[in-house]
Subunit: 437 residues, 2 copies
């Protein structure tokens, strides 16, 4: 019996420019998590599973089918077939999503300006692809940056340029400088990607003043803002700010959202609001959303109508607003964040004898806290943290374009329970005492 | 009250190279179909809806959950949570898909060489992206070509080169010439995309001899074959041939498939088999599927576990083989194709007094027949066909890279009923008598 022949490809011959360092690092992280299954992991920013008990796929689907029958006058079997068939690239539940955006976030757009996507990831990919028309086009990102955005850019070969985040959101002076430098180099910044509400990875937040100012810069420099709304729902309501898209000048904003955290990751349903007008050479105008829907037809054709029906059903069960769904979840994530910050204070705060140079930010929402260390938080240190101390975290350098973040780590608290957070920070404290000078 | 400001983008500033003519044409086609809803349409290659009655999402999902409990020792609530949570980019039902490929198609690969994708569309996008590492890389396609493939290439900026189809599949002399020309130009053909079984749009079919010969050319010229398997299931069983992937030399083949036609379009579940070894600079080897899974994490993260559960449940209900599911469907599509060809013979065949220069091919499977006309089958003619004769078809030029196919049209018969096919060909006949000289 002969051994079957193999076709051997050389790695260097595959997906050339896909040098996204984050992806190699995430593989490493997954591998470490696999090797130390008993470690407490502050690494994944996964939703808490306690809410999964509320999900009832059959009930949600039935609710959406009833909506189709009532709104579109379909017979039951026609409605059902709509879920089994292909569907429009633009989506099926655009009416419901638009309604929720209006009710919950003050974003008032027509439903044809929304495209339903396979998670927010596809929304980012489509938007980058639409806006970048030539190799001289650039997209700016607040750095550190969500790996989904930098990953999509790597897939498409889109060049990114970094603007560092600051304690009040974004370095405006550096942003001006980046714009000037791009112009000088004959390049054009098409958009700036920003998560104004508790960004992943650093928990960054833009004040209302910073939001207005950012829109003004976008107008002056003639680029769009790509607003990632994924964690806005975790805000403590009295302190919540309107999204960029709902502010004056919001027509410059492409708004990116997901139902993964609010409803259910497994549905893989996200959306993009792109109500910008596009003028064709013929003089005819359309919407940026039309362009995104065309692109989507070449990436995934359409988002599963089944998945959309589940999300649609959840929206309908709550009278089209996610406010009540969100408030219970926001409370849990707020609680977890408070527990995490309290535990850090008690173990590593002033007067605890903690190693010098350990500090962290205090986001008022989201899933993530950024911790600064006096030593490099690299893969070697992560491995030791897992093996000797049973605690995992994410090196912040994963999220940086270029160098940066090498003495920082990201802690996620979203899916953990109170005891685990407490015990995990205990382990982290022992680890830091061991490795910091 | 002031009129809200609008941000106006210029079309020329959007997704630069996305000149895929097919997409504009498909928009036109959809628009015509919308304007003439009572026309009989041979345009969409949609699955027949008569099989949708078999679908029972709740039952399929429950069956898959039971499998998870039995195979992985999960408790019922753990299994259910797997469907609500994110999941591996590689997929959940890889074991079942691999089993079905082995049983039904003689494709024997380990399950880690399969990636479950959002339809076959995403599988094509990921594969093109993985294989094209530099601007000098090329992908060859059999021309005319499925618009999903040329669309994915347009999204990624991948250069395609055409090899015309012939009555026995593909022009081998032209393929040799294309390879030579690429080498001379310092370019590298990384892969050839081919649908050996009843291609969309032209119903092309490769004989067994042509399959062996194509693999030999791929070995000699050192490229991969991207085999699109979407319509193979429609073959009349005695005449069915093994897929390229199951033939000697099949390790050169990346096999692309979908459950859209066989099970349910709305699930949006496809797959790619990529068992080629990849050698990293370090000497470590992995699978091409690993690279595709990494790319997928940057396009859609993962395929909806809910959708995968539905397909998994269908596979399990049929003891892991789709042979029985497929045979009833193949019979219906075979019947429709026969009715279409018979009606063409009776109305437009020899001795009917049909206009000179009207002819068609006789595929033995698939959804499509190619008709040649003595006049240009362009959008103007389509509009007239719809308005005056109440019959729709697809201009074949939509599917051609570059010029070509301007006097051809595509007829799809997949989703029509016998009476409609008969009446539709009657209308087409009257139309052709009116427009042909």
């Amino acid at each position: 019996m002969s051994v079957p022949a193999e076709t051997v490809l050389h790695r260097d011959d595959l997906h050339g420019s896909l040098g996204s360092p984050a992806m190699g690092s995430i593989n490493f992280l997954n591998e470490v998590m696999g090797r130390f299954p008993d470690a407490i992991s502050f690494a994944p920013g996964a939703p808490h599973t306690s809410f999964f008990g509320e999900i009832d796929v059959a009930r949600h689907t039935a609710r959406y089918l009833r909506h189709l029958e009532e709104e579109r006058g379909l017979k039951p079997e026609q409605a059902e077939r709509l879920l089994y068939q292909y569907g429009p690239s633009r989506g099926l539940i655009n009416d419901l999503v638009t309604h929720a955006l209006r009710t919950d976030q003050g974003i008032d757009v027509p439903q044809d300006s929304v495209v339903i996507t396979v998670g927010c990831q596809e929304a980012m990919l489509l938007t980058l692809r639409a806006l970048v028309a030539s190799p001289t086009d650039l997209v700016a990102v607040v750095n550190p940056c969500f790996v989904g955005l930098s990953g999509a850019a790597a897939v498409l070969g889109v060049d990114l340029v970094a603007v560092d985040d600051t304690d009040d959101g974004i370095g405006f002076a550096q942003l001006d400088e980046v714009c000037r430098a791009a112009r000088t180099a004959g390049r054009r910044i098409r958009a700036l990607y920003v998560a104004p509400d508790f960004s992943n990875p650093s928990g960054g937040f833009l004040s209302l003043e910073a939001r207005h100012r950012l829109i003004a810069v976008a107008e002056r420099e003639d680029f769009l803002l790509l607003e990632d709304n994924a964690y806005a729902f975790t805000a403590d309501q009295p302190g919540a700010l309107p999204p960029l898209k709902a502010l004056p000048g919001g027509e410059r904003v492409v708004h990116l959202g997901t139902f993964a955290k609010v409803c259910m990751p497994g549905a893989r349903v996200g959306y993009v609001v792109a109500d910008q007008r596009v003028r064709h050479a013929s003089g005819r105008t359309g919407l940026l959303a039309d362009e995104l829907a065309t692109l989507k037809s070449m990436v995934t054709v359409n988002t599963s109508p089944l998945s959309q029906a589940v999300i649609g059903g959840i929206l309908l069960e709550h009278q089209g607003s996610l406010a009540s769904v969100v408030s219970a979840k926001a409370a849990l994530y707020q609680r977890n964040l408070r527990l995490l910050l309290d535990a850090l204070d008690r173990s590593l705060g002033p007067g605890t004898g903690a190693p010098a140079g350990v500090s962290w930010n205090r986001p008022r929402g989201g899933f993530f806290v950024r911790v600064r260390l006096p030593v490099p938080a690299d893969e070697r240190l992560l491995e030791r943290s897992a093996r000797e101390f049973g605690v995992l975290w994410t090196p912040m350098s994963h999220f940086y374009l270029g160098d940066g973040g090498d003495r920082q780590l990201r802690l996620a608290c979203s899916y953990l329970d109170p005891d685990t957070i407490e015990e995990g920070i205990g382990r982290l404290t022992r680890f830091l005492h061991a490795v910091c000078p």
